[in-house]
Amino acid sequence: MKQILEDDVGKKTLLMGNVAIVRGAIEAGVSFASTYPGTPASEIGDTFAALSSRFGWTGYFEYSTNEAVALEAAAGASFAGVRAICSMKHVGANVAADPLFSLAYTGIDGGLVVVSADDPSCWSSQNEQDNRHYAVHAGLPMLEPSSSQDAVEMTRSAFEISEKTREPVLLRTTTRIAHTYGNVVLGPIQERKTPYFERRISRVMVPSNARPAHLRLLENLKLAKELSENSKFNKTSMSDTELGIITSGISYAYTLDALRWLDIEASILKLGMSYPLPKKMISNFIESVEKVLVVEELDPWLETQIRAIAQVNALNTPVYGKEQELLPLAFELSTKHVALALSKVTGKPLPIDYTMTNEKFETAKELLVSRPPQLCAGCPHRASFYAIKQATKGQEVYVGNDIGCYALGIAPPFHLGDWLVCMGASVGIACGTAQIVDNPVIAVIGDSTFFHAGIPALINAVQNNVNFTLVVLDNLTTAMTGHQPSPGSKLGDMRGTAIKIDELVRGCGVKDIYKTDPYKLEETIQIFEDAIKQDGPTVVIARHVCALFLDRMKRKKGIKITHSRVDPEKCEGCRTCIDEFSCVAFVWDTITNQMMIEEVLCDGCGVCINVCPCGAIYKEEAKQ
């Protein structure tokens, strides 16, 4: 981590794409960084956080309440003359879209870089939207790295492009860039800019200023197009001219591998600065080859523009891509996908006949048991979900779930999740459903997500007297994305004051507020029963620290974890524990027909002790 700050020009190292972005920003003399954590962007913020709290970086970093606030804060720093970076996951850009579009109008002072980390294949997201569209939609110059080395260089240059064009620059990555380690050569670190705040009426977006601002944006984009035509990130490598490939981002890496694998020569145009497109360069490239294959993930974003460029320049060169269904419109690409497309265009077969291996795999498949992600052993959410289930036995309740670890509550045995849409939607949708149906309606939301997007919806519920129960699962951290601090807790570094959720909820006008520790099962079940029965909006705050966070801390400090065990003398094999609680550490012994606890996994929370009707589960230490 220390090396990110070292002025060690020429040093070779291995950096994850996200960390390479931080290095690039440090090299550019960035002064301000903000984020709301979201996979696959999280490590950008986490690296800045570590640099400032433990490695003496003197720039400013904050975890903001949500992406819109993060971007506004970064813009504020840019207005004050310094370089700023704001990172978010792709759907975070939807939250930040409001300021983003208008910042393209206001323009910036200090270079402002907005990182959008997209997640093709939805590895950790609710959708796989292609955020390259934002560049066109808002009117922002865009860079797309293909490797960690690119990530360093492009981030560094992004600040310059931003200052030259006076526009925020979009740095668009994808999971396979963000979370891939690659070789990097460190560059020199520039001085930070001296702050200045120039008062500009052009930043005041009333209609009379917005109209000239739009024209200014169009002028700025013209300049950006010139930069793109001459950018070192847009590179042609001519080889065999029978086939020309146009590509960008991670697709470039797959393309190089696929060409080598199939042993094909082709000319390549790599678009690192992909908005505005270097139209002249592209047109020249199309003209110099016999046919063109466009290789890109998700939407035919490049392809559509490239077809238009060919049309405008009256070029008849055939363009292949998604239009001919050579590449998929959904999910991430791979070397194999690109190789298959190349194979169709050139007639050269793949070196491996996959129909054979697929057949072989059919028998192996029978041995496979799926292992989906699970709530950790000891997770407080499992206790909360169990309590909700017990409290609502025999009733048809509708439950909105939200974005976070607790989304795993949709799985058996809990099945708590009739909708899960986007940050905060558990509450917003409950507002509508509860006004229409008579059944109990519950929304479950984590502490960090509640702060991010749940509060306006709760206010709406109070204002309109919605009859529902909001459950805030407060684990004192933002667990899912790597335990970033949450505004409600003092865990982790916080400059300001921790916000008390109960006070906040009371301030929103909620009258019936219940607080519980979900590890205390009996009490929690009673509280849920009461809260759900109560008319009007009620809030239950189920507070217990994230088990994984605590276990890691214990391990670091050398505190021993005492596991729970099952007494074979007492276990009657009733399966209540497995069927109703399903801790990941549970193992069913098919020979004795009894339950066992896998000690490698058990975190010793002891909650299962109160689930077993036979008193068969005990804490290890109790027996000694």
């Binding site: 396979r176 891939t180 070789n183 591998d257 491996i352 291996t357 072989k360 292992r371 990941v584």
Partner: protein, 199 residues
């Protein structure tokens, strides 16, 4: 120098799969190779299946490699090994930990874990060189089940034809783990290395 050496490391989230990938990756860097190592975070990490592609050589670009082009599959858990068995080529190598972490779904369905013999027999359909080791048992004997991954790393270095010197890997282990655990980890590596060397 090696043009391309592809490794897939698979296991259950939270059991040190990424740690051994990082140690091997930095070792490859010290060896002067290009390295690409791709992993998934967030939802995919919560106790579910995890796998990471680690590629090293002089011509490395993509974050992952096509099935059937892997040179080595390192499995921290038997079912996770078979789940990724298509990644490795027939003449490549599989090194895996025989210690079972039973997926909860088996307990829910009251099903048995597939037998080791059957698993190995299936693996051999895909790869002729399969080596197994109970790395977790060895780690427990060393007093720390958590170092099972390093035991397995030792075994992989012994049998995997990885184009890196073992001494370099030991150096990287020392750079990676907290100081008070260095001896334990180095010992785990060596024990794993020796345990399969005789096979």
């Amino acid at each position: 120098m090696t043009e391309e050496f592809n490794v897939l490391i698979a296991g259950v989230g939270g059991t040190g799969v990424l740690t051994i990938a990082h140690i091997l990756g930095s070792s490859a860097l010290s060896t002067g190779l290009q390295v690409v190592q791709s992993e998934l975070h967030g939802m995919s990490q919560r106790g579910g299946s995890v796998s990471t592609h680690l590629r090293m050589g002089t011509h490395i670009y993509g974050p992952t490699f096509p099935e059937g082009t892997g040179d080595l599959l390192v499995g921290m858990e038997p079912i996770e090994t078979i789940r990724n068995i298509e990644s490795v080529r027939y003449t490549g190598v599989v090194v895996f930990n025989t210690y079972e972490i039973r997926p909860l779904s088996l307990s829910i369905l009251k099903k048995d874990y597939p037998s080791l013999d059957l698993l190995i027999q299936e693996m051999k359909q895909f790869c002729q060189n399969v080596y197994s080791i109970d790395a977790t048992k060895i780690a427990k004997e060393l007093g720390a089940p958590i170092v099972a991954n390093i035991v397995l790393l030792g075994a992989a270095m012994a049998k995997g034809s990885i184009p890196i010197d073992s001494e370099i890997v030991i150096e990287e282990i020392k750079n990676t783990v907290p100081e008070r655990f260095i001896d334990l980890n180095v010992q785990a590596f060596k024990t794993g290395f020796e345990a399969v060397s005789k096979l």
